[in-house]
């Protein structure tokens, strides 16, 4: 693998060919905010929070799906980008019913922490207050659609790590929502293997272990990393035990 030299926020760094800007920045200690990226599953470039400015490119590009190139000059934290990020977060908070005070993920929520790290002290857009349901039918897990940001991490881990294909997005636009099987209640899903990866992957309080109350839902991403390493790199899977 050839190495590429590039500049991120004034820092000269080198990255492996084929690496994404997000990976390269991460290794260089530059944290680019994102909500839809999850280590171990493919990227979709949907949340638009990791957009960066690349010199010579008129459009903003998502760091998660843009590969590094020799001589790239990247800015990840301009005033314009910060403004857009804050607006994106405000749009998310206005879209569904994210009531942090009474959320299982309060204090362990990526949406919440991004909001304060981006300086969002209030939401300037009118809250939509849509009517979404809570699916508590599963034996072990719950899904609160009010808190879903449609990052599709749960869908991607379900399809690409577990291979069950239980979760998907149905509908479109503002009506898009996460389903299990044929939009049946989760507890009725025949394909769900109850592996719980979706719960580990969720950045907000949308997916949770049953029994967790406000601010109790913490995630353990290392469990996902372990599985990804097993499946992709096949490090310890050698054919026979």
């Amino acid at each position: 693998m050839a190495a590429k030299t590039l500049t991120i926020d004034g820092k000269q760094i080198s990255a492996e060919e084929g690496a994404t800007v997000l990976q390269a920045a991460d290794e260089a200690g530059v944290k680019i905010p994102t909500l839809c990226h999850l280590d171990g599953v493919y990227d979709v470039g949907a949340c638009r929070l990791c957009l960066v400015e690349i010199a010579g490119v008129p459009k903003l590009l998502p760091a998660c799906t843009t590969q590094v190139a020799e001589g790239m000059v990247i800015h990840t934290d301009s005033e314009r980008l910060r403004k857009y990020r804050r607006m994106t977060l405000e749009l998310l908070f206005a879209e569904r019913n994210h009531v942090c005070a009474v959320c299982v993920a309060n204090g362990h929520c990526e949406l919440q922490s991004l909001a304060y790290n981006q300086g969002m002290d209030h939401v300037r857009y009118e809250y939509n207050f849509p009517k979404w349901s809570v699916d508590n039918t599963h034996r072990l897990f719950g899904m609160d659609h009010n808190r879903c940001i449609l990052c599709t991490r749960c869908v991607r881990v379900c399809w690409h790590i577990e291979g069950a294909g239980t979760k998907n997005v149905a509908g479109r636009g503002g009506k898009a929502h996460i389903i299990s099987d044929l939009n049946m209640s989760w507890g009725q899903s025949y394909s769900c293997t109850e592996c719980g990866k979706c719960v580990q992957a969720c950045p907000t309080g949308a997916l949770f272990h049953k029994g967790s109350t406000a601010a109790e839902m913490e995630r353990d991403r290392t469990r996902l990393e372990f599985l990804v390493t097993a499946r992709e790199k096949k490090q310890w899977i050698t054919g026979e035990e």
């Binding site: 349901s133 508590n136 479109r172 044929l182 025949y190």
Partner: protein, 175 residues
């Protein structure tokens, strides 16, 4: 609205397949899938055919399609709900599609649809309680030269007016 826990889950597939074996339309649908070699990328084509045969896409039908195409049910449902052409609920005896394209809009399609709503007391996407009429809107049917256009049971009606639309609805409902 919080749904409560369920403790039994059941595979509906055997019942669906048994039901399908007695219905000729499922046979036709399967032949259509075979024509496409049960390929995954034929899903939309298959759903078109299924809707043509059954009028709408009910859950059991989607489950049948997902089983035959070897696709997870969530994929089939995700696709069926992405495209506005597919109905997951039964439609009325008659359908009235008002084109809401720009040309029709600037020529008064909004007034036509208001008149129909007033007459039927239903909104676009709904069906009258007696199941006679479904009211739908289209994004543009490309008949801008004869705007505003309304499609009654598949037949395009040019230069519609609130009066002509109400007349047609009355004809259907017998009022």
């Amino acid at each position: 609205m919080i749904a409560t826990p369920l403790h039994s889950k059941r595979n509906r597939l055997p019942a669906v397949l048994e039901h399908a074996s007695g219905d000729k339309r499922f046979k036709i649908l399967e032949v259509h899938m075979k024509k496409h070699q049960f390929r995954h990328d034929a899903l939309i084509e298959v759903l078109h055919k299924a809707q043509e045969l059954f009028g709408y896409l009910e859950d059991d039908l989607l489950l049948f399609v997902s089983y035959k195409l070897k696709l997870p049910p969530s994929r089939v449902y995700g696709v069926a709900t992405f495209y506005h052409f597919f109905n997951l609920k039964p439609q009325g005896e008659h359908t009235c599609v008002v084109c809401m394209g720009t040309a029709c809009y600037v020529k008064g399609a909004d007034k036509v649809i208001a008149a129909i709503q007033d007459q039927t007391k239903i909104r676009p996407g709904e069906t009258t309680p007696d199941n006679k009429v479904s009211l739908l809107t289209a994004r543009c049917i490309g008949a801008c030269g004869i705007a505003p256009a309304v499609v009654y049971d598949g037949t395009v009606n040019p230069r519609a007016t609130p009066e002509s639309a109400v007349k047609q609805i009355k004809k259907w409902t017998g009022t």
